[in-house]
Amino acid sequence: MDVQSVHELARLLGASLAMGLGSLGPAIGIGLIGRSAMEALGRNPEARGPIMTNMLLSIAFAEAIAIYAFVVAILLLFVV
């Protein structure tokens, strides 16, 4: 295996791992947020509006972590 293909392999592997592992935490986080939102919704269904908005905002924050991983992945793919 020459240097070029090793470099290529490392790049692809790194990008995939970054995306995959980086999504783990946010995925769990989004699941937890969704669960809490559903629980809150079940506890008082009339507060549907605020719960929905806050849930979406929290999901966006958790998702941002995955987005960082995604940025790293595309940096690896397209820039390095």
């Binding site: 966006a60 987005i67 595309i74 397209f78």
Partner: protein, 309 residues
Amino acid sequence: MTEKPLLKRFPILRVILFIGLALAIVSFIGGSVGAMLRDSSPLGFLATSPPQPELPAEKPFASLFITNTMIASWISILVLFGLFFAATRKMKLIPGGLQNLVEFFCEVAINFINDVAGKKWGKLFFPVCFTIFLFVLTNAWIDLIPGFGTIKMNGLPLLRNANSDINVPLMLAAVSFCFVEYQGFKAKGSSYLKKFFNFGLLACGFRQLFSGRFKNGIKDTFMGTVAVFAGFIEGISELIRVISFTFRLFGNMMAGTIVVMVMIYLVPWVIPSLFYGLEALLGFVQALIFAGLTLGFLTMAVTSEEEAS
């Protein structure tokens, strides 16, 4: 209350759903995925080029430095300006039509900002926060207009989602950062800088060390070092915010673009439309987060610890 299901109330929905499903299946079989399964090339009218995301903004005019994201952001600026200009050109006490709409959104934003920052600061923060929100939102939603990215000039797209050019999020983050620091400094004066450069305790410790009170001196020197380090961390985190702001918006918009591209490549019909809906929601949420976080940091910067507690 017995409400009939939506499909029963509007029989036309069933037809639309059926047609959509049929188109999706046809494009799935005839498109790239089906081609891969069939070991042949996709059907002619379904063939799309594989996604090739381009991180830097393209320059459609060979000799100019103007990029396609610049043109897109100018368009969104024109749209926003036209909207506000048309709404406020003939202001009436009893609003109607466009004026009513724009006033309603402004009022909602003013109330939101006043709730977070208080009335006194809300008035100062409103223009920057709301402009950031509108700019990000318009950039994101203008991209969703069908045919936006298909206009080509010299083989490159003439228009592109301005948020997916890293310069725009970075610029917005820089504006937000500068505004936060400026407001913090203006509100608290030189004591604002003490948050970052906290040498007071360390100097006191050294003085005690040299004047012979070793026990207190060592303790204060240690605590002073910790305080200096904490100030350093504070400053770093303030800078990290800029990067986090930048990459949150950039990454989200880029991811959205790439997801739509990939979906168009895999299943050319129907399915990408669903992701367009997702993109619309994401654009709104990201705009809200960008403006809301700026507002939160502003509020944190101008309220002192005594006031907050």
